[in-house]
Symmetry: C2
Subunit: 261 residues, 2 copies
Amino acid sequence: MDDRKLTPKEVRKLIREEKITGQTSGLCPGYAQANLLILPKDQAYDFLLFTQRNPRSCPILEVTDMGSRQLHYLAQDADVARDFPKYRVYRKGEMVGEYTSIDRFWQDNFVSFLIGCSFSFEAGLLEADVPVRQIEEHKNVPMYKTNIPCTPAGIFHGNMVVSMRPMTGEQAVKAACITGEMPKVHGAPVHIGDPSQIGIRDLQKPDFGEAVTVKEGELPVFWPCGVTPQNVVMEVKPELAITHAPGHMFISDIKNAALKY
Amino acid sequence: MDDRKLTPKEVRKLIREEKITGQTSGLCPGYAQANLLILPKDQAYDFLLFTQRNPRSCPILEVTDMGSRQLHYLAQDADVARDFPKYRVYRKGEMVGEYTSIDRFWQDNFVSFLIGCSFSFEAGLLEADVPVRQIEEHKNVPMYKTNIPCTPAGIFHGNMVVSMRPMTGEQAVKAACITGEMPKVHGAPVHIGDPSQIGIRDLQKPDFGEAVTVKEGELPVFWPCGVTPQNVVMEVKPELAITHAPGHMFISDIKNAALKY
């Protein structure tokens, strides 16, 4: 079975049945993927404000009504508690477990934030002959904590997390133009070139995901990443928060092209 | 004194001193202008969610911290309670007065939402030889209630308000391309042509602002408008809400070009 030929609806079904539990880069090219943060309603205003103030790392695609597991925009038949391949549960900033469903943890006061994901623009990069190394190498994308501060909002503060794709300088120009058109899935790169300028010590030791090969003559290109909220949660230590596992996204019915308008 | 040569900071000073109390279309071309809605914190989450779900009519430029009259992004020296030329105070959905300052009404639980304004893209239209009729005729832009429903969020629901600029079909194409690049100030038109299709009966009787001349061979072109929150407030009737008077905007230090990124 070639997963890449499946529709988003078919992939979500396989994910809900726990037949797909891995990372989702390269699945359903052309369709927007989404990161997740679930918080109790008490913290929802502060986080919604945080996303408004940090649209590059936290571009909101949809926010659910309190207690609802349904979506109305990204898909009509989704269950937020079961349709990500893998979730992480955080208590007081500590990850206490990874789960393929969070059905048992569900609370009536949960609000779910679905946040744009850079996997969404990879189909556009491939179309323009810009390589996407982690797809070539069948890995999860490398992600790094940076020293770039987010703008605080209420209780939330912390630094930006970035994803990295290596490419030549010419490809980086194309990649900036292509992704700059897609602000809802993180938009243009936040940095190109020297990792140390944004506080990354070793490209071969990502904080999330897996290291990929950087070839001779390639530059690392960094995009704001929807794992930023997890970094913030680890920093702020709210009583309870649930996220997706990095790289393990929700696959929506919305085409990336539709996110431009 | 030619107001159009003044910097945003100079214009805000004149507004604060109540030397400018009129509408702001055409002032400080190239700089973003902003609509206003102030609500007590209790309603702020529902409204912030409303803006997330209705980004075309309510593109958020900045949200203040509770109780603060200061801005951090749109300007460094602003006072939200005095730097709009005119405000409207609504109690239970009824406008109870228009004021050039809301200093006396200020409450520690106020949250201010600054929302993008279509005046911001008019400099770009003029540059491309697209006429902006209300500037030519020294009037406030005509604004209309439509039958286009906003997506509800919590207590907030209601229909979109639009602004209208008449132009030829060829100019409308240019206008769509130019404004489509500026989603933070309402983006592309929501309708071109027949007003009755969006529930507008008579172009010569706008619900807000003033009627302008529509010449032979011109089409009315409609953009989502930041007066939409006022329509929503009149519909939902919260205990207390404060807005700008339609057309009487905040002039920011942010160039429109900077809003693209």
